[in-house]
């Protein structure tokens, strides 16, 4: 991920920070339409511009904000809204667990900051970077900071643009589709081996079958199914297990 330039040794922090920004940049550009459409949708649901922007600052989780704004528009009660947020964002606890042991050497204030920046998109790039054991762990949190911050800046600005443009971004542009496309771009290149492909496929099928479960519980059921399928298949295939132990290359994306 990090180009082996002279600066990599002389200014490791800056080089890691910049490496994170660069790795995240394609996803950041792809996220702009999604942030805009969130801003539009939040106003349409009855939020004030200040509330719409505050949700991007305070919650900072795209799909939960979409669902949250819609639920506020339909007048859902608070416990249901919060429970839905919990289920939809449970995946962040999995990301947090996965990165936890790589961050434990850091001071608390670093971990508080990085936790705030832990989105799907930042995790996807940061996990790959941490999995590369060739690069020492010493400054890798600067990569996380770079990837997380540029994603954060994009989300705040594109929310503001969406709020500003409002109804001038018609629903017929289907800009919400960019989220699914971004995730396709993250997931597909990582499906090199059978276990990860089966994990993705089984999770997707369960997500469709369990779609009508309340509070978006289907999302969590689907994710757990995919994870179990992946682990079981990897155990059955000793070759796959061996390669995953010797290197973390099998990791997604």
């Amino acid at each position: 991920m990090i180009p082996d330039t002279p600066t990599a040794s002389s200014r490791p922090r800056l080089s890691e920070l910049w490496g994170g920004v660069k790795a995240e940049l394609p996803i950041v550009l792809g996220g702009i339409p999604f942030g805009m459409i969130y801003g539009v949708l939040a106003l349409a649901a009855g939020l004030t511009p200040a509330q719409a922007q505050a949700m991007s600052l305070i919650v900072f989780a795209g799909s939960a904000q979409f669902i949250g704004a819609q639920m506020m528009g339909t007048g859902a009660v608070l416990p249901v809204l919060w429970l839905t947020t919990l289920v939809v964002n449970l995946r962040h606890a999995l990301y947090s667990t996965a990165l936890g042991s790589d961050l434990r050497h850091l001071p608390r204030r670093w971990r508080w900051l990085l936790a705030y920046l832990l989105t799907d998109e930042a995790y996807a790039m940061t996990a790959v970077h941490y999995a590369n054991r060739q690069i020492p762990i010493t400054y890798k949190h600067w990569f996380f900071l770079g990837a997380g911050f540029i994603m954060w800046a994009e989300w705040q600005i594109s929310t503001a643009v969406g709020i500003f443009l409002g109804a001038e971004v018609p629903a017929s542009w289907s800009l919400d589709f960019t989220l699914a496309l971004t995730f396709i771009g993250i997931v597909i290149p990582g499906l090199k081996e059978r276990p990860s492909a089966a994990a993705a496929l089984s999770a997707g099928i369960v997500a469709v079958l369990a779609y009508s479960l309340p509070y978006k519980l289907g999302l969590m059921a689907a994710a757990l199914t995919g994870i179990v399928v992946g682990v079981v298949l990897e155990r059955r295939d000793p070759k796959g297990l061996a390669s995953s132990n010797s290197s973390h290359e099998a990791q997604n994306p």
């Binding site: 947020t85 799907d120 496309l181």
Partner: protein
């Protein structure tokens, strides 16, 4: 509903989910199986978001040539596989969706 209270509650829940495990991992060492399971998290979670977006655009299952999001998404998946580039994936996927919507 108090919108501000709703937003602040959502923020606290989301931040707790992101921060809690990171702080817990300070003391806990996770085993081989857990580590192995965590590697499948992105593929499983993101696929669980992608599939309904493509297969159930109106909230109901639609596996037909009339489902523009499914066709555009499949094309985007091919582009993602061939180019390994997120921007190309999004560009081709959106272009395909707009084209199909204009034709359909």
């Amino acid at each position: 509903m108090n919108i501000w209270l709703a937003i602040i509650g959502m923020g606290i829940i989301t931040y707790a989910l992101r921060l809690g495990p990171i702080l817990l991992m300070e003391r806990i060492e996770i085993g081989g199986t857990a580590r192995q399971a965590l590697r499948f998290v992105p593929a499983a979670v993101l696929s669980a978001i992608i599939f309904p977006e493509l297969l159930m655009p109106g909230g109901t299952l639609d596996i037909s040539l009339g489902n523009e999001r499914l066709l555009a998404g499949l094309l985007a998946a091919i582009v993602a596989w061939r180019t390994k580039n997120v921007l190309w994936t999004i560009a081709v996927g959106m272009a395909a969706l707009w084209l199909l919507q204009a034709v359909g």
